[in-house]
Structure formats: C-alpha cells, structure tokens
C-alpha cells in the first residue's frame, strides 16, 4: 500500500512539474501580457496543486500535510486575483497586442473614463 502511494505521489509530482514547465514556456512564448496571465494562472495553479497532492501522498505525516493543504487552498484563492490585477493594469497601460485581438469590448468603454 505504501509503495503504491509512493508511486502515485511521484507520478502526481511529475505531472505537476510538467504543467508548471508548460506554464513557464507559455510565459515566454505567448504574445502579450494578457495571454501570458492565462499561462500564469491555470497550468501553474493546477501544476502546483498536483505537486502538493503528490507530496502529501509521499510524506503522509500530518504536520506537513496540513501545511500543504493550506498552500494549495491559498494558491487557488490568490492566483486569479493576481491575474486579474496584472491583466487590468496591463490593459490600461497598453500591454496588449491589439493586432491579435479578434474583438475588444473594453475599448468602447475605456474611451471616456480613467484614460
């Protein structure tokens, strides 16, 4: 049973690391700040959660496990907030490749206020 848990934990950590790697590549390759925030939130968060679950399965000691649970929960809560704030700032300061936008509903709104 413990060998099974060890293997499962290792697999999850590996999967999580792969997702985090994809997120890092996305940060480099995607064209503008807004697109990069996608990479910084989804695969990064999911990757971290997988690593956390994997480590919890391998450690199996309560003291560290609960800390890991907190790490995962706070990551899930805070990552979207960061992405939202960075994205908002990026849009307002022109960090968006407008040639890559199919449509931009925010452009009509931003005309009068705040700019």
């Amino acid at each position: 049973m413990s060998a099974f848990l060890d293997v499962l934990g290792a697999v999850l950590v590996l999967l999580g690391a792969l997702l985090a790697l994809a997120a890092a590549i996305g940060l480099l390759r995607l064209p503008d700040v807004l697109s990069r925030m996608h990479a910084a939130t989804k695969p990064q968060t999911a990757g971290l959660v997988l690593v956390v679950i994997g480590s919890a399965l391998s450690l199996r000691t309560s003291v560290d496990t609960w800390m890991l649970v907190l790490v995962g929960v706070f990551q899930l809560i805070t990552a979207p907030v960061t992405a939202h704030l960075v994205g908002r700032l990026a849009y307002r300061s022109g960090g968006v490749r407008e040639d890559l936008l199919y449509r931009d509903d925010l452009a009509d709104r931003e005309d009068d206020p705040a700019r």
Binding site: L19, A22, A23, I25, G26, R29, L30, P31, L34, S35, M37, H38, A39, T41, K42, P43, T45, A46, G47, S62, V63, D64, T65, W66, M67, V69, L70, L76, I77, A79, P80, V81, A83, H84, G87, R88, Y91, L100, L101, Y102, R103, D104, D105, L106, A107, R109
Partner: protein
C-alpha cells in the same frame, strides 16, 4: 445538525470568520491541541478586531450541496483548461488570437461578481480584465477566441457558472454599506403610500373641494 450549520452559515458571518482563521492557525501548526485551538482563537479575534472587515448581511441560507457542485465543476474545468493552455503555450505555429468579451451579470451583488471573477480565471479560456458590480458587467480576455462562435461559447459558459452560483445563493450575501441603501429602497414602496395619504397638501384640496 445541518440546519444549525446553515444558520451559522447564513446569519453569523463573524463567527465563520473566527472559525476560518482559527482553522488556518491550527493547520499551520499541523497538529491539533487545545493550546493551538485557543491560540488560534485569540489570534483570529485579534486579527478581526485590528483589521475589521465590512459587515455583511445575508438574506437567506447558502446551499452547501450546490456549493460543493460548483467546487467540483470548477475543479474539473481547471484540469481541462490547464491542459488546454499548456498546449496553446507549447504548440508550434503563430501565437493564438484572442478576444476581450463583455459579459452581463444578472445581479449586482459584490460577492457574486467576485466569485465569478475567481472561477472564470480558473476555468477554460478566460482571465477577467475588468469587472464592475455596479455596471453588472465583467470583461474577460478569452485566449484563442478568434470567431463569433467561440465568443458565444464563452458567454454560455459564464451564464452556466452564474446560474450555478445563484443556486448556491451567493447573491444574498451583501456588503453592508451598499446593501443598507438598497434595503431601504426595497422597503420604500411599501412604506411610502401611507405617509403620502396623510400629507398636508394632499388633504388641503379635498377640504377646499368640500364646501
């Protein structure tokens, strides 16, 4: 048991805050002991006294089962979207085109807006760029949305998520300063007609019309 829990859930947000912070404290220490519990309680109360949060009112109960469904749905969507964005990141070829889409929200509750923003950032395709509870609108950047069909798909997804959150009842939780004005406006129509009948200038013409 569950009815009592819902009562705490619905009517005593401050109790919930203390419980949550105490739980975080105990989890941080990693072991349960009465000393930890007591220490966590003291720290929780201290934090909430020193950094008070705005009071909220709840007009009803939150539904735990519906909440669990949203959590599971978002979890599944997070898995899907992670793989999707990971692929969009590493695939060869030109960078993906995207759209910024305005989506209307049916309720101006702050908590509903906040939870939509949180969830939408984790589910496939979207990061919220701007949101306004007063205007009942949020603007999301949808990665890879390069035709109208994709935009409509995203709108449908938001509508589904919103319906799920409304089923939980999050729109009934309101931040107090904003809600007190709304609550008065809500009761006004019922209170107004009575004083209007006793207004002096209303009775004056009737007295004049009498003789």
């Amino acid at each position: 048991m569950s009815g009592e829990q819902r009562g705490v859930f619905g009517r005593r947000p401050r109790v919930l805050r203390v419980l949550w912070l105490t739980l975080v404290w105990v989890l941080l220490w990693g072991t349960f002991s009465w000393a930890n519990l007591l220490g966590g309680f003291v720290v929780a109360v201290l934090v909430l006294v020193l950094f008070p949060l705005p009071a909220v009112t709840t007009g009803g109960q939150l539904r735990p089962v519906a909440l669990l469904r949203v959590v599971l749905d978002v979890g599944r969507d997070l898995a899907v979207s992670s793989v999707q964005v990971a692929w969009q990141s590493v695939r060869p070829g030109p960078p993906p085109r995207s759209s910024i889409v305005a989506v209307g929200i049916s309720d101006d509750s702050e908590l509903l807006t906040a939870m939509l923003v949180e969830c939408l950032s984790l589910v496939p395709g979207s990061v919220v760029v701007d949101a306004s509870a007063e205007e009942r609108t949020l603007w999301a950047h949808v990665l890879g949305a390069d035709d109208d069909a994709a935009v409509e798909r995203f709108r449908a997804q938001v509508a589904r998520l919103e319906a799920d959150l409304l089923r939980v009842g999050v729109h009934r939780v309101r931040v107090e300063p904003a809600s007190s004005g709304r609550a008065e406006a809500g009761t006004d129509p019922r209170d107004d007609p009575e004083p209007a009948e006793h207004r002096p200038h209303d009775s004056v013409p009737s007295r004049e019309a009498g003789p």
